[in-house]
Amino acid sequence: MMDKLKIKSYIKKYEIIISSVLVIIFVVILSVVMLIPNFQKANQLHKNHKDLKSTYSRLEQKDATLSSLDEQYFRDTFPKINNVLPSSKDYYLLFETFDNLQSKTGISISRTDFQLGIVSTNSALLNKPTEWGAYEMPISFEVTGTIEQLRMFMLALTDLSGRLITLENAQIDVRAGGSVRAVLNGQTYFYPLPKTIGKVDSPLPELSKESADILTLIDKQQTVIAGGDEQEAIPVGRKNLFSNL
């Protein structure tokens, strides 16, 4: 009985302090349970909004660029670009380039050597690409012609009129009558096409001035050799020898 009275008297004496502390504790609990999660939610929302805004802006830019592109022009010039840097080793194109160079410069290519073997197949492991992203294919060839023809031939290897071939060294023999025989060693390149083009909101690569100039030059320099489906129809005989039709 006495204890109860004592407790009551203490509570009465310190009631202001006790009620203030209770309010403070209540506010702290509510802050932890309700206020801080709200702040975190608001922060997350702000971050998401910012990311979404930047995605939207990228998409807007991409949409504007794609709408302004002349798709047909790129489709028409792509085979010509592929002639310069094909997606595979494409030995046929290499021989075609040599044929064109011979007829253009007048030089005579008497021998060509290039890498064959396991790296001829697409399924085999490719060599590591160069620092510029394309794969190298060493090549060596022997040519005969005049001085001017050899010089024109060397220039034509990198004039983007055919497959890009860069030279590393040359051994030249000057013969009587002003003709030269040269053994040229160099590299040609190929670049396997990418399998994916990236996510829908990934930015478009920029066509720099240098690349645009190269595209114009390739378009001007090249004539695309017609494919097999444009061959002339070969006349054939009767399907049935016993019929007049």
Partner: protein, 187 residues
Amino acid sequence: MPKKTINLIINLQEDTPLVKRLKLFLPLISLSSLIIFIILYAVSLIYIRSNFSNYNLLEKQTEVLEKKVSSVKSTEGIYTTTVGILNIISSLSVNTATIMPDIFLEVYNLQSPGVVVNNASIDQKGDVFMTVTTSNLDSLDTIIERLKEKEEFQKRFINTRSQGVTRDTDGVYKMNVTFQIKPQSGI
């Protein structure tokens, strides 16, 4: 009997200074913290509600734009692939620009009446090894002077060295020369 007095009033005990201070400040703190909590909570709710509707609107617009961009995937594909290949061709053209036609011409133009460049080995770095044949001593002197002029005056050749001169029985001089050609500016 004498009167006896009983004091029923309990003396009021004075609060300690600490208790006095607590009684003064704690109510203020509790009230202000409650008010601050209410204000902050209300602001956070308003912020979340308004931004949520903006976010939803932006999300819908983004979805529409994504669909539009996806519908022209073929254009994107051809453009991206073309630009990728062109960038590589551009890098290859710049970094592997050939100076060999120029070197070849420089070497060939060393020839003159009586001086013949029989063979030459040239590389992309500009290193040249050549064999020169001259019909007489004057022609040999001519080619040596030309090489000196190229190195000392025109500054086109570097480290010109002769590997040795031989003379055949028919009076023809043969000389092996090595030098390096400086690429011209712009190449």
